[in-house]
């Protein structure tokens, strides 16, 4: 009898585990792709022009904003067989990169940020990379912009869009939203308007998001693939850590390479650190500086 109940219990646990594994994720209603031209910093503190696609999956009450290639790489990293595939892709990519010096051959993740916005509990949750090997996440109240709607309109992807402006954490944003798509959402953390934001740019010209595709989609809005990798930290700490890494990352990695596990130090030429850094180039939020 005891044995029997143990079996039943185990069966129950197994069924529960399977059903937990097959958890239904919320379904999107539409999928919007934005292109994100911006200025970014390399780990030597130098600015460069970068541009890659970002996807917004949203159903009106829940949304995810991410880079599809980053998510693909993360999904590979979430299983042992996937990691194997990734390493094959990487070694093949490196081989061809060495031949051609074409960086697009490397299967690297262009953007590290994921933004989840929820209307039901009115929170925004952000997952991002901090410093070297450091990943963090935080939740904060959704939105936070105080929009002023203007009279100008323009057509984006066939939709009439209305202008709106707001200050947000150190930058002045001008966005174009369309009341024809009654979804309160937009790229990154931007939201709070009676329609989907199809274009957003901030006044310094360092960052902008431009929608280049919209389709109806029933894709699952699944959570991030590697939740264990992230630790909770405050928004400002995360941004400060990331900033420090970008300004001095080369020196930090050099130190890591020099310090061998045995304790000895590999002799290497010191890095030239006297070069001028592009301090004026900053993140989407600039209010984290102390």
């Amino acid at each position: 009898m005891h044995k029997f109940s143990t079996v039943i219990l185990l069966l129950f646990v197994a069924v529960f585990a399977v059903s937990a594994g097959k958890k239904d994720f919320p379904k999107a209603e539409i999928k919007v792709s934005y292109t994100y031209p911006h200025l970014a910093l390399k780990t030597d503190g130098k600015a460069y022009e970068s541009e890659y696609p970002m996807i917004l999956l949203t159903n009106g009450s829940y949304s995810k904003f991410y880079n599809p290639r980053t998510e693909f790489n993360d999904s590979l990293h979430s299983t042992p067989s996937g990691r194997k595939v990734y390493h094959q892709l990487m070694s093949e990519g490196v081989r061809r990169y060495v031949e051609t010096r074409d960086e697009s051959l490397l299967p690297v993740s262009p953007a590290s940020i994921y933004v989840f916005k929820s209307s039901s509990d009115s929170t925004t949750t952000v997952y991002d990379r901090g410093g070297l090997g450091e990943y963090g996440f935080y939740s904060e109240p959704r939105g936070g912009m105080e929009w002023e709607i203007g009279d100008s309109t323009k057509n984006i992807l066939g939709y009439e869009c209305v202008i709106a402006t707001s200050e947000f954490r150190g930058r002045r944003w001008t966005v174009w939203f369309t009341p024809d798509i009654p979804i309160d959402n937009g790229p990154w953390k931007l939201c709070g308007l009676p329609g989907l934001i199809l274009e957003a740019s901030e006044s310094s010209g360092q960052h902008s998001f431009i929608a280049d595709g919209i389709e109806l989609s029933k894709a699952e809005i699944r959570p991030i693939y590697l939740p264990k990798q992230y630790r909770r930290m405050s928004r400002k700490d995360l941004l400060q850590a990331r900033r420090a890494y970008l300004l001095n990352g080369d020196v930090m990695t050099r130190q890591l390479i020099q310090d061998t596990p045995s304790g000895s130090k590999i002799e290497m030429e010191p890095l030239k650190t006297d070069t001028e850094k592009d301090y004026h180039v900053d993140f989407l939020e600039t209010d984290y500086h102390e």
């Binding site: 696609p53 599809p68 010096r101 066939g158 009341p179 009654p182 009676p194 280049d212």
Partner: protein, 861 residues
Amino acid sequence: MKRIFLITIFLTLALAIAAQVNVTGIVIESGTDEPLTGASVVLRNAEGKIRKYTTTGQKGEFSIAAAEIKGYTLDVSMMGFAKQTVKLDSVRSPLRIEMQASATVLKEVAVKADRIREQGDTISYNVGSFAQEQDRSIGDVLKRMPGIDVSSSGKIRYQGEDINKFYIEGSDLLGGKYGLATNGINHDDVGAVEVMENHQPMQVLSGISFSDKAAINLKLKGKAKATWAFHGDAGGGYSWQPEGALWDGELFAMAVMPGFQNITTFKANNTGEDLSANSTDFFALRRETGLSRYVGLSLPGVPDLSRKRTLFNRSALVSTNSLWKVNNGEFKTQIDYSFNRVTSQATNITTYFLESGDRVVTETRDGRDRSHSLSGKFIYEVNQKTTFINNTLSTNIDWDDVRLGVTGSLPNEQSATLPDYYVANRFKMIKRFNRGGRSHLVTFVSNNEWESLPQTLRMSMNDTQLRQHIGDHAFYTNESAAYSFSVKGITISLEGGLKGYWRSMQSELSDRSDLSDLSNDVINTNYLTVYVNPKFEYWFDRVSLRLDAPVSFAHYTFDKALANRSEAYFSPALNMTWKPSNRFSMSVRGRTGRTPMKLNMIHPGVIMTDYRTYRQGVDDFYNTGSHNVSANLSYKHTRKGIFANAFVMQSWTSLPYTMAQRLIGDYIIYSYADAKSTDRMLTASGSVGKTLDFMRGSTNVNASFSKRDSHILSEARTVNSSSDVWSVGGKINGAPLSWLSFDYSINFASNSLALDGERSSRLGSLENELLINVMPHKKWEWRVAGEHYRNELAAGDFKNVFLLDTRVSYKLSKRLELSASLNNILNQRAYNYTTYSELSAFESQRQLRGRELLISISLRK
């Protein structure tokens, strides 16, 4: 007093509150009365500007405060519901707004990241995001992809260069006959079209030999793989000209499995659809047997309109192609049979205005060409990293019967029997050995070809019967071996070989007493060539450079017809490519050297080529000199969907002879006369393509220019001629609304010729084509297409033609579709025009395909 003061305060407050209007209410779902959370509520002023907004709460409630609401409206909207607009002047709060469920129709703009993707050297086009409702085959969609160009013959080019391979799921089933796939495979079965830039098809040469050509690979959708996919069409109808029944049928079957692939197709029609694009081998190598027809009996020319308007045909095609993967290699068979019967008619009426009265000369030409072609190709190929073996056996039999009747002032009947028999075997083997960072390659090639091209022309005119018969056959062999070694991007190779060629031709012209001593001819033209071809190739990073310096020594024997002779040839070629970034690529090519004349020009006798022309061959051996330089530039920005390319070439040719013509009675005899002639030609072309994502479309603009100057120095007199042709064109397609798509193209071409500085007038032609496809309902589709041509016949004298087609189709189910098409609704049956000169009028009459009604049924699995 105090009371009055209080009252005043209350009144003021009340007024202030009254000035601030509060619009409140709830939003519920119609029918269920369920409150809707998260609906967007927007307050707009009389001009429609947004003044305030909010979203509904957990119970569907909302509340908006505004300074005034006169003339204002309230918009309530939510995904999945129809938008509600309430005029606030006529209602009072609290409002109760009922939302009707309705599918939200998005102006879908496919997520662009998916439309064209680039990873390294591979560019992937998402087929679904380029296909329009009016498209059927994958070839229809390929034409819309920027960077890819499909010519009217069906040939595919990428960034202005011919592709070098066409794969289906990575396998090369069809070789150069990819028209079968592009015209046969349903676009719905293809997920993506991949373009592989700088594609080196032979794995042994990967990393050693640079390729500047691109290949195309069709990535099929899962449902089309590992199973047989079928589709078929059957249509019948009536045509007003040629009067009679119409038919059009097609059966297509395809299997793409891991170890086996097959494409089998059957097509037949008499609707003016040219099937040759389905069976042309675009990668066909030049036949080294070097034979070509002397008899030039061709059908009367057709007006300069689209081919489907002028082709009077009965065509059929059967083709079956299989590929089996065996051990390390592939075995392929390609068997085709095609039949084509084409008729054509032309009438020319020339009126000479004479003082003694007008004189009218009429000539009507009526022709029929009936051709059969049977070909088989058997290929075995091993394509591995260290070994490449390919043996291709091809056989080809053609029968071509042409009949041409002329009535009028010089009535005659001509008929020609023009069969062609050809067998070739090509063998190539490459072995690669890698040792210590170096690669060594050994190559063996053995090519053998045999061809027989008998020609018979019969002509009867004025009770005379003439028969010209030509027997012409040749055997060619080429055996070579090559060694190359490659280290750090530098490859040096040396190829040496032997070519042998034996050809014999006899011609016989009966019953031509005035030319009797010239009417019979037997000639052998043979050669033996020893050659070496040193090759230097440098390929590092983004630069590649190739130098070829072939040297050959040839000995020609002509069997007493001409003195035997020996010749040495050197024709170096240089090719440089630079890819400064992934977006730009440029290349420069140059070649110079001498080439021997075509040996079939040697014939002392006279050969009748049609009822009034004869040809006499050269009586000496000549070489021609030629040089050319060309440059190619291409740019692409895949994320923005921009593809552009430009090409320019300058070439020089010098010939030691020129064509001369003399008249004997009513006949023209063409011969070659000694004369130094030089020819200079400049060709330039460019094309820019761009995706138009806002309407899921694309556009392309192209232009070309060519100019040719030649100088002929004959009997101490120089004749200069100069001609130029330029054209510009553009096309655009898209689906601006979910139920409407369109295609539009415009082309303008202009040409002029100047002889000895005297320029004849410049003539232009303009062509416009518009197709509109409407889907009023999921199951119904209606299409209207119009074509307008404006051809300039003489300076300032234009011929306008307008043609209109329509088609309606109804989808019975996912697999079955019924359609009815009515072509040439206005029933334009003739293309007639008259041009005048001072002393004569020339009238030309040609036929067009008349009005046609075709009812079809299509089935697909």
